[in-house]
Amino acid sequence: MTAWDFTAMVWILSFLAGFLGALTGLGGGVVVVPALTLALGVNFRYAIGASLVSVIATSSGAAAAYVREGFSNIRIGMFLEIATTLGAILGAFLAGRIGTHTLAIIFGLVLIQAAYHSFKGLPEGDPIVESDSLARRLRLGGTYPAGGKLQEYGVRHVPAGFGLMFGAGALSGLLGIGSGAIKVIAMDRVMRIPFKVSTTTSNFMIGVTAAASAGIYLSRGFVDPRVAMPVMLGVLAGALLGAKVLVHARVRTLRAVFAFVILALAVEMIFNGITGRV
């Protein structure tokens, strides 16, 4: 393949991944890695390196808007980033030691979870007003705009949420993805933070989490500029368009179709991992 063909094809695939990732809320990373490895035969390590930098671009771009609108809680984000960055360092360290076959199988399992959430939608819990004592001491509660006024909310179960965030960070560093779905579950379901605050704060945290493993990826040679360039530019452009369309689109049918696509990718990823083709 010539450099021109490769760049053009990767850009198009990444654009689609970013577009679908933004529409479904799963992010571009979970699609771009299997697309690169399965469709174009890119080595798994180059794929996760390129995916990780694209994750920083989309999350920072989207976070810029959410923070300004007052949805993201920068205190919750900063506190939980202690857990996600530590996890990310562990994950990036392991990504250099574990064989690509095993990584492909783990990736496949994460894809199955993503397919499930794409199909069902992320679970939305009922927010609460009173924080528990640890959350009060950490001043994690806050307000967010709802129906034209500021709605107050409380936070609970901080240690459990913190632990899950460590796991989310480790998966992010291991597989070069944002692992936004796990972050949202940790905040919305476990810590009882309102869904809109959870999703936007998760997005806000993804960039910092990915930055903690990006340096390790870069120095190990996972980030090849010739692969990362079209991936980053494609995913970013796709995500920007996806965010614009999201307001008008009927997402339900699309999510269901997307779920089956991801499930197919998961099966192929696991199969290739077991047979040693990745």
Partner: protein, 121 residues
């Protein structure tokens, strides 16, 4: 300094960082395609790659010589630096708000990031 103001500053910083990084990557990408569009590429097997693109000093040197891959890599380094700068700005903001708890929490996150970047390089 209050939380609203800090949020506005962070929002601007994130957007500017992503735009500058994307523009740098794009410029490097155009240069790369002009120079080697018909060259054969194959990324099936993983190799450590050019040592000049693995460290910050090597990347800056290569970008300063306007080498296409060095420019792309510089853009990616700027992108990685954007969330790190966001943590530093939040740290300064919390310190100005005299919020001691969150100044310390931001400092811990910044130290973890610094450890990972220093350890990597």
């Amino acid at each position: 300094m209050n939380d609203r103001r800090l949020e506005t500053i962070i929002s601007r910083l994130l957007r500017t960082g992503v735009l500058v990084a994307a523009a740098t990557v794009f410029a490097g990408g155009v240069l790369y395609l002009i120079q080697s569009h018909s060259g054969r590429v194959d990324y099936r097997s993983f190799g450590p790659g050019s040592p000049a693109l693995l460290s910050l000093s090597g990347i800056v040197r290569s970008a300063a010589q306007l080498q296409s891959q060095g420019l792309i890599q510089l853009g990616l380094v700027l992108l990685i630096a954007t969330p790190v700068a966001r943590v530093a700005v939040a740290l300064a903001g919390f310190a100005l708000e005299r919020d001691r708890l969150y100044t310390v929490i931001s400092l811990i996150v910044l130290l973890i990031l610094a450890f990972s970047l220093v350890h990597a390089g």
